[in-house]
Symmetry: C2
Subunit: 290 residues, 2 copies
């Protein structure tokens, strides 16, 4: 896949982990990027990124590393995005485009927009792709292929910058969807943040059940393992998400609680027909997304 | 895998679906069975089973089909097991061993034990293996390989019959664990029944969220799909399980609700450290079962 008319001469990736590293690899593979500078705090991870050919240069100095960049991709944990933006925006070159990959959008926009200069554009984004792994070693070029990437421009986002970031993600293999940040945060609360809260709670509830001496998780077959895989995700990433999208998340958690409580009442009262309908409706919804 | 010293001359499978069909295939592959009679209600499924070489003979007459059997494996839905047992026990030959694969044990024992004759033994069992598919076509010989099978004998179960059923499952590739029915029902409520209730509730809660016009499930990436795969399971099987194991299931549902409510309160009050600990504890428990 090469796309001759899309090219970023100098790309800075702040946070060369799964998300940042995979974008660099995808753009490289497409021949759509000149020089890639990798920026982070830990030297070991940066050296790994260099060794793996993810980036051409590395630095722990976020200001120096981004100063000459045409595009800066912020891929640090969500709670660090504002801090990084505050550090770099004053020294970015005119015309630079800043974009991010944070899993939450409204809170990130609220932090970053007030820091902008007229010469620097910000395009908030979120690639809907990931694994349970993290760090440069987890990155791979095809992570974004056939996935969606949601961009949530605001009134201040320039059309040109939006277009550029849109093409960047398309070049990486994704379909780009544009929507408002609030809508993004609610949809993601439903399809991603809620399921993680459910999985983490389930594993804790079952794993700490100590009525029997043995570890009952040893009886779990493939179903439980697959079902709870997302409970292996990075705890600090999910802390950040829970801290930055609480309103939408609580709305969805309460919605889930209502359905669960209704089901529990039907189990308690032995309502076979209602139970069947509940399971059947769910099966239909689930089978439709296969 | 052939096991020369274990052999069942005549095996009757009542309910030639995923569970019954896979046992027949596993025992056949091990050369551990003579003739296999498949019994069911629908002719189409039985003919399929014959065509696929799962069984040697088929009949819709459960009494005729089991009369000469040395071992009868009951693999119908849980709520039908008592009915089938009542029909066949009077005419089984002396020394016949009846065993089952139902996902719930205490209620099945309560139904079947009063029907027994002194010449017929019953060994309640549950192979911890399965897929989301059903029917004869879903059966495969390796389903039980490297899985566990739980047997829950009672005071009335003969040692000889228990030994035979134990070897039958070992021959099919499983490790056999013997425990009390009540313990089985509580452990399974935790590791299997609760997760299914959670998955069904989650898909219903998310799938029916209609704040936006589009179908938000279309945004779900691999995580959601994997996480909710078990919500594709057979609704009638799960209705039966919920109807026959309500006490243990409600205990676990309430336990889950407590953990989930605690988490929701920490999200609401933005307690970052507690959130991190909650997720971290869960990740550790989950990673330990990998
Ligand atoms: N994982 C997913 O499934 C997924 C999906 C979509 C979006 N996201 C979002 O993508 C972002 C990154 O996630 P990830 O999964 O790629 O995490 P990751 O693999 O842990 O990568 C994050 C990187 O950021 C660096 N970093 C942390 N703090 C920094 C700072 N203050 N300045 C510079 N670099 C810093 C880390 O290295 P050092 O610690 O050495 O600095 C690390 O290499 C998060 O905002 C997340 O919400 C994740
Ligand atoms: N699926 C799993 O993951 C799993 C795991 C462990 C244990 N189990 C247990 O195994 C049993 C069977 O489950 P399965 O997944 O194999 O279901 P399945 O594939 O639907 O098979 C059940 C079979 O029973 C037959 N049947 C239903 N009612 C009958 C009756 N009254 N008399 C004779 N045959 C009857 C059905 O055919 P007709 O409708 O044509 O009669 C069908 O072929 C259940 O008790 C379940 O709890 C299931």
């Amino acid at each position: 896949m090469t796309n001759t008319d899309f090219f970023i001469p100098r790309l800075a990736i702040v946070g060369v982990g799964l998300i940042g590293g995979s974008l660099a690899l995808a753009l490289r593979q497409a021949g759509a990027v000149g020089e890639v500078i990798g920026i982070g705090r830990g030297l070991a991870n940066l050296e790994k990124a260099l060794e793996l050919g993810i980036v051409d240069e590395i630095t722990q100095d976020v200001v120096a590393g981004t100063r000459e960049a045409d595009v800066v991709f912020l891929a640090t944990p969500v709670c660090k995005l504002g801090e990084v933006a505050a550090a770099i925006i004053p020294s970015l070159k005119d015309g630079a485009v800043v974009t991010d990959g944070g899993s939450v959008k409204a809170s990130v926009i609220a932090e970053i927009e007030p820091l902008l200069r007229p010469e620097v554009s910000f395009v908030p984004g979120h690639p809907i792709a990931g694994t349970e792994q993290s760090g440069a070693e987890a990155a791979f070029a095809s992570l974004y292929r056939n996935r969606r990437c949601i961009l949530t421009p605001t009134a201040r986002t320039s059309g040109e910058a939006l277009e550029l970031v849109q093409r960047m993600w398309q070049t990486s293999g994704s379909e780009v969807v544009v929507m408002e940040a609030e809508k993004h945060d609610r949809i993601l609360a439903a399809i991603s943040h809620l399921p993680h809260m459910v999985a983490y709670s389930l594993v804790n509830a079952v794993g700490s059940y100590d009525r029997y001496e043995e570890n009952i998780l040893e009886y779990s077959a493939g179903g439980f393992r697959d079902f709870t895989r997302i409970a292996s995700s990075d705890p600090s990433m999910w802390r950040d998400i829970a801290l930055t999208n609480p309103e939408a998340l609580i709305e969805m958690m309460e919605r889930f609680e209502c359905f669960f409580a209704e089901l529990k009442e039907d189990v308690r009262s032995g309502k076979g027909e209602r139970l069947y309908e509940f399971f059947q409706r769910s099966k239909e919804l689930r089978d439709n997304i296969l």
